[in-house]
């Protein structure tokens, strides 16, 4: 049984080490860094025909820089569209109201994220605004279906069994389909 002072020193050191480890883990291994609590933010929404496997917590970026996160995913039962709520860092508050939001894939087969491309309006997005110009996620099956359909058409056969008519499965970011 060590002396009381040794005991206290030992326990104190141990607890201090433990909390230091926790501090290290939370600040050095996450993207949080040394910030405490959630930074000031504002929320905007956007509606998509198909969000693919976009999840709550997926990043929102602009020009490749992460400016926020997806915080809520809802379903609009009248328009049959997905309603995504994005929480953007207050630091980035000069996003034009006519910007568009598209769902991209990280890497080749990675998770989904939302990319914003700036529009030209003079007014900027504030808390509660909705982004009107959206482009849905790229769904692999639809692309394959389209490819097969084109292939079938191309070889002169009437497109029947192998054609898939699916609504708004856009292919590449180049073909922007503006939906309202």
């Amino acid at each position: 049984m060590p002396k009381t002072s040794t005991l206290n020193l030992g326990t104190g050191t141990f607890v201090a080490l433990g909390f230091a480890a926790l501090f290290f883990l939370t600040t050095q291994t996450t993207s949080r860094g040394l910030s405490f609590g959630t930074p000031p933010h504002y929320d905007v929404t956007a509606k998509f025909d198909n969000i693919g496997d976009l999840r709550v917590g997926s990043p929102v970026s602009m020009a490749g820089v992460e400016i926020g996160r997806v915080v809520k995913i809802d379903f609009d039962t009248r328009e049959y569209k997905a309603v995504v709520t994005m929480r953007l860092n207050d630091k980035y508050n000069l996003i034009p109201t006519d910007s568009d939001a598209s769902i991209y894939t990280q890497g080749l087969l990675g998770g989904k994220f939302i990319g914003l491309t700036a529009g030209g309006a003079e007014t900027y997005l504030k808390n509660g605004d909705q982004i009107d110009f959206t482009q849905s996620a790229f769904v692999l099956e639809n692309l394959i279906g389209q490819f097969l359909a084109n292939f079938a058409k191309g070889s002169g056969q009437s497109g029947s069994a192998s054609s898939k008519t699916d609504a708004p499965a856009a292919t590449a970011p180049a073909a922007t389909e503006k939906t309202k």
Binding site: T13, F14, G18, A21, L22, T30
Partner: protein
Amino acid sequence: MKVIKELWQSLIDALIGLGSVVRFLLRMLMVTPGALLRFDLIVQQIFNSGALSLVIIMLAGLFVGMVLGLQGFTLLERFGSEGSLGVAAAIGLVKELGPVITALLFAGRAGTALASELGLMRATDQLSAMEMMAVDPIKRVVAPRFLGGVIAMPLLAAIFSVIGLYGAQLVGVQIMGVDSGSFWSQMRAGVDLRDIREGIVKSLIFGVACSLIAVYEGYYATPTAAGVGRATTRTVVTSAVVVLFLDYLLTSAFL
């Protein structure tokens, strides 16, 4: 027929045992407010369970981290993704290896110490003597040990994870040549506060389980030398099985 009867009896025994443990836990929780008043006792137990386990936890963390770095690197190299070693090691340690391995080592070092201490006190009538002096041994002796273990466990797991990360970094970056920038930046991008929170919750729950099993076995040990020995053995075995089982439950609950 006899086999079925024996199985049935084992089931009944297991249920009785489970009920006994739960009632013991409830009794301890009831005296916890009073036990917290004797903070000096709890500090002493945090020292016994935590500070004295530091060496083995840090050693284990270092080696596990190094192996993780080595294996992870070899695997990821096949896909050209060595840069992801950081995030792989961090997630693996913080969410799984840290809490689980720390709990298993805790059961072996601190758990057996708790069980044998209490078992010895039982065998030498110290617990009965306390009862006779109108001092509740659960409040005075058992609860501080339980609380000390619960407090020490998450701290130990965090230390394990940090040292493990260092080990992974040591092997991956400094020995195998993974780019240090990628190692840390991918980790920062891929690890969320939620992952760390899940890890802490896991190790807290493991702490409750291991400490509870240890003090229970010690308190109810048969008051002989052989009985105390059996109690310590049972502590390790039961703790290991329960921790691994809870790990599956918690992991699936979090996902």
